[in-house]
Amino acid sequence: MLNTSPALEFKSSTFFAPILILYTNDLTAIEQTLHEKISLAPEFFKDSPLIIDLRELNKQNLSLDFSQIIQLLRRVSFFPVGIRGGNENQNQQARALFIPIDTVREQGSTLMIGAEAAKQETAPQPAAQPEAATPKEPVRAVPVPPVSAAATLVTQPIRSGQRIYASGDLIILSQVSAGAEIMAEGNIHVYNTLRGRALAGVHGNTAARIFCFDLQAELISIAGDYKTSEDLNKQTYRHPVQIYLQNHALIIKEIA
């Protein structure tokens, strides 16, 4: 036989999936908070895969109807693709719904699905992550552990309708058009005109900042606190600025 092409091939790869840590079993509160989060970045969350982390919930011994939370997530357009930290009962329910179960290892949790897994190998994180802050919001999508990923560099213009997501810092050399959306878990630097939406610290990093050469953004957000172009101050419009959070208020400061 001549060489025939194979029917399939396995390749190892990692892909990005946010982790949803549940702190409550109150479905109404969960749904409400999810809607708020989604409204911040609808394009990003739409049809996004998601991993559900139940450890916090189980620590508090809160029971949860697993199939209901799955239904809820599907309704708001998430695709749950895994759970972790579930108890035996929850794992069984997940299996029945064909949702894979990820085992959480004791030392520095590793997730097999998700960009973090790959990066951890190169930059090991300190063990046991629990975020310093005690949760005030019932639901938060936070990566575990907080990763210091390498910066992403983009040299092409980001046009209307395009979306960029970086799991670390995001550095953009060209313009960002109105109708485009750029997001980073870390800082955002735009060495050009920023006309679209820019969301830094999207997983809750309140220390993240946005820097840009020419501020004409439709929306800016840091760790969920946002301003739309309507709220942007005339003084800094079309100026080079940095944007950061101070006591939950977005500060826009001209870079002299």
Partner: protein, 270 residues
């Protein structure tokens, strides 16, 4: 191997078909064997502008479905024997246009032609996506108004992410701006965006400015691409566009309305 040019815009009615006919004719007149394809299935406009609507027997979809050969479907232009038209179907539905089918037709044309011009339908749906998918160069046709500029920007995003070159990680499609229906008087009155306004948003390589001109309508009524009307400003502007695309360095004209000394010499606008 042919160079594949897509004429695209996002927004409808901005001058894509006018431009496709003009530049295809311009390239052919300069000695390059050129085919121009109408991707606007269901509407069929290109053949009207090129004045060959009564010679259409088979169309693009027939070729894709294997009901006719390319040679049967291609119509040779009456004014220039290096220009061929592949018309769209008026009767078939858009689903007949498949990526595989389009790819095959373009491959076959590539063997024989130097340039293939794809006249895209408006919108960002399947037809428009297929028209740009195989492109090497994109002529982004934009009118000096904000909605058109926005749509062009959107199209540029698609060009840089959803084309074959993007998928294969090859050198990106070369993007050019064609600012059409430009009326310097209305720009001065603030009723239209200026070239600078448009470039501030799009920052593209400018191939040319096509002024708003009555000659476009009369040419299309006569079934003749406006580039053949050498006396009209629009015709000259398209001739410049073709020359620039082929590498000639020409200063941009028709930005200010006044045509410098030529205008003063010969008086009013044609």
């Amino acid at each position: 191997m042919a160079r594949i040019i897509v004429v695209t815009s996002g927004k409808g009615g901005v001058g894509k078909t006018t431009t496709s006919a003009a530049i295809a004719m311009g390239l052919a007149k300069r000695g390059h064997k050129t085919a121009v394809i109408d991707f606007d299935v269901g509407l069929r406009n290109l053949d009207l502008i090129l004045g060959c609507e009564r010679r259409v027997v088979y169309d693009f979809i027939n070729v894709i479905n294997g009901e006719a050969s390319l040679n049967q479907a291609l119509i040779r232009d009456k004014n220039c024997n290096l220009l061929y038209i592949l018309p769209a179907s008026q009767t078939r539905d858009k689903d007949a246009l498949t990526q595989e089918g389009v790819g095959k037709v373009l491959d076959e044309l590539s063997k024989d032609f130097e340039y293939i011009v794809c006249d895209s339908p408006a919108g960002i749906e399947k037809g428009a996506n297929l028209a740009l998918y195989f492109a090497d160069d994109a002529f982004v046709v934009t009118n000096p108004e904000i909605s058109s500029v926005r749509d062009s920007d959107r199209m540029l995003g698609i060009l840089s992410s959803k084309s074959r070159r993007a998928e294969r990680n090859e050198e990106p499609i070369k993007e050019y701006l064609l600012l059409t229906r430009y009326d310097p008087d209305r720009v001065k009155l603030g009723e239209m965006l200026s070239l600078e306004d448009v470039q501030e948003i799009l920052s593209l390589d400018l191939l040319g400015i096509i002024p708003e001109s009555k000659s476009v309508l009369s040419a299309s009524n006569a079934g003749m691409p406006v580039i053949l009307d050498e006396k009209s400003e629009a015709g000259q502007a398209y001739a410049d566009v073709v020359a620039r695309y082929l590498g000639e360095k020409l200063p941009h004209r028709f930005i200010d309305g006044k045509q410098g000394f030529l205008r003063r010499l010969f008086g009013g606008r044609k």
